[in-house]
Amino acid sequence: MDIPGQLNVTTSEEEVEPILELTPELVQKRRSQARIIFDRFIRNRAALLGAAFLILMFLFCFLGPTVSGHIQPDVIHPADASQAPSLKYPFGTDYIGRDQFARAMAGGQVSLLVGLSSMLMAIVFGIGIGSMAGYFGGLADNILMRLTDVVLAVPLYLLLFVLSASYSDGSVTSVVFLIAIFGWTYTARLVRGEFLALKEREYVLAARTIGAGHFRIMFRHVLPNAAGPIIVSATLLVGANIILESVLSYFGFGLHPPSSSWGNMISDGQPLFDVSPWLVFAPGMLIFSTVLSFNLVGDGLRDALDPYMTER
């Protein structure tokens, strides 16, 4: 996508230069698609803030332990039990003396990983179902979309609790699967809608005239053109999945100890809210701000990827 370098190729440098100088706004227009989207995204303050915060959050969770030295989330310090936040324990300790700062970072790793990987699974599955339904239409569309409707009609939390109680072993992988099983529906609907509209485009007909097969048309021609909405929904899905994981863990149907997540920490800290409110506030604020950031970034991407957005 590196375009600026190519502009001067056809004509010599001397011919082009004065024209470009006379019309600075034209020079600005000659940006690549990616550059235009990036510029629009940068201009959205809230989205930029969200993105910056997310980068910080990833650094905090994955590099934080080694940098700060809080590397023992599960070690008990009976002497320091139930301490309020201090310099030694920035997020305080719980009633058996575990370092909440270390636990927040370790739990954050799990929460982010669960959010991201269940999003990836759900998106891949959703694209699979949605693209088949939208591209082939007719009977395939009917069967796949009714299936989607059925999944959407089931009370999500109840079924998750039941499934988790009977099949999940409380490991990270099982929770990722559990969340992804239900996350794909919205993506599938979105992808189907995009495919329904895009398959009527003339370049799809043109691709058929050169003898391209269904698979090639679906994934080489149609899918890239639907990338914008899918990226947006993926971003928003990460936030939703983090919340879902926290809810599951809070009710005890998510991750089992010793693995900890932000949801676990809130659930552990809740009985002690009167004496040690920091046990709930720290992970609660982390969830809140992370999900908010994902949503801000998602909204920013939506605006940036929308070709009909006029430049402000």
């Binding site: 375009i3 190519q6 370049y203 058929r208 005239t209 050169i210 003898g211 391209a212 890239p224 990338a227």
Partner: protein
């Protein structure tokens, strides 16, 4: 057999809609020899594009279906060919270009990749070989600095350049036949001539036969060997290009020619229109479809005339009962035309008179 590359015989393509069957193509027959350039002309909605899509078997297929006839390509009937075999023919043996180059290129793929795609599908070339071939193709269709431009995206190209890219894609696998569906309609007039010249030049070079579909008689006159005139899903006249322009024998062809200004002849000082509109293809008239608009029409026209060769000129065929070169028939047609014009004027006068009287009352 064997003489023709493509033989369309009695092709019928119907679209099923709520109100019934639309007979978009109704018994069309024509043939094209290897390397020949055939023009298909007619006004909007007379089945030109549907004929092309039927040959390629690319009709949108709940509503459309090929209801009868055959399309023999290299002695293979494309109508019954399984989809997988058809896919090998599309792009490999028959290339196609469309009207609007703005929408026919995928905005998310580089131009080079789109040209290379056909090569990779049909010739199974490796990425590098396909890339090299794409550069030379882009060069052949007259895009400067092809080696750099293959990495550009379609939005960085102008309309004419995009049509050049489409031509490169269609000709990538060196097909035997190129179907060009109104290739210049969406282009600037100055670019139109260049594109036609390019199609002409490249196809002569490759020995590709061309079917060029257009409503622009100028396009046909400039670059085709033979012309098929279509009206309401039927072929009404077919002749070598020079013959058709010098000696048109179907009233519809006459009407088409009279409606275009010509620099070479001063037959009429005025441009004539063809009165009325094409018939509803849901309920086509039982006889000649052009009869309701035809000034030469007689009662025999209520039955469809066969597409017969002219006496002494087998290459020129027309589907009309009337001999339009007969002075008596011409005089009769002229009288009917005058009558119609007078009627129109009378109606206009009556209308303006009534508005005038309405004004006076106020």
């Amino acid at each position: 057999m064997g003489e023709y590359l493509l033989e369309v015989q009695d092709l019928k393509t119907y679209f099923t809609v709520k109100a019934g069957k639309v007979r978009a193509v109704d018994g069309v027959s024509f043939a094209i020899k290897p390397g020949e350039k055939l023009g298909v002309v007619g006004e909007s909605g007379c089945g030109k594009s549907v004929t092309a899509l039927s040959i390629m078997r690319l009709l949108p297929q709940p509503p459309g279906e090929i209801a009868g006839g055959s399309v023999l390509f290299e002695e293979q009937d494309l109508v019954d060919l399984p989809e997988s075999a058809m896919r090998k023919i599309r792009g490999g043996k028959i290339g196609m270009i469309f009207q609007d180059p703005m929408t026919c290129l995928n905005p998310t793929m580089t131009v080079g990749k789109q040209i290379a795609e056909a090569l990779r599908i049909h010739l199974k070339l490796s990425k590098d070989e396909a890339q090299k071939r794409a550069i030379s193709l882009l060069d052949q269709v007259g895009i400067p600095a092809a080696a750099e431009r293959i990495n550009s995206y379609p939005h960085q190209f102008s309309g004419g350049m995009r049509q050049r890219v489409m031509i490169a894609i269609a000709l990538a696998c060196n097909p035997k036949l190129l179907i060009a569906d109104e290739p210049t309609t969406a282009l600037d007039v100055t670019v139109q001539a260049q594109i036609l010249e390019l199609i002409n030049g490249v196809c002569s070079e490759f020995g590709t036969a061309v079917i060029i579909i257009t409503h622009d008689l100028g396009v046909v006159a400039g670059m085709t060997d033979r012309v098929v005139v279509m009206y309401a899903g039927k072929v009404v006249e077919m002749a070598p290009t020079n013959e058709l322009f010098a000696n048109p024998r179907h009233p519809y062809t006459l009407g088409l020619l009279d409606s275009v200004p010509r620099l070479d002849e001063q037959r009429h000082s005025e441009l004539r229109t063809i009165e009325g509109a094409p018939p509803d293809l849901l309920k086509p008239p039982p006889g000649c479809p052009f009869m309701p608009r035809c000034t030469f029409a007689r009662s025999i026209c209520r039955t469809m005339p066969p597409l017969d060769s002219l006496v002494g000129n087998a290459a020129h065929r027309k589907a009309c009962w009337v001999d339009v070169t007969d002075p008596q028939e011409q005089a009769y047609a002229e009288k009917r035309r005058q009558n119609r014009i007078e009627k129109v004027f009378a109606r206009m006068n009556a209308q303006s008179g009534s508005t005038q009287s309405a004004l006076e009352e106020k």
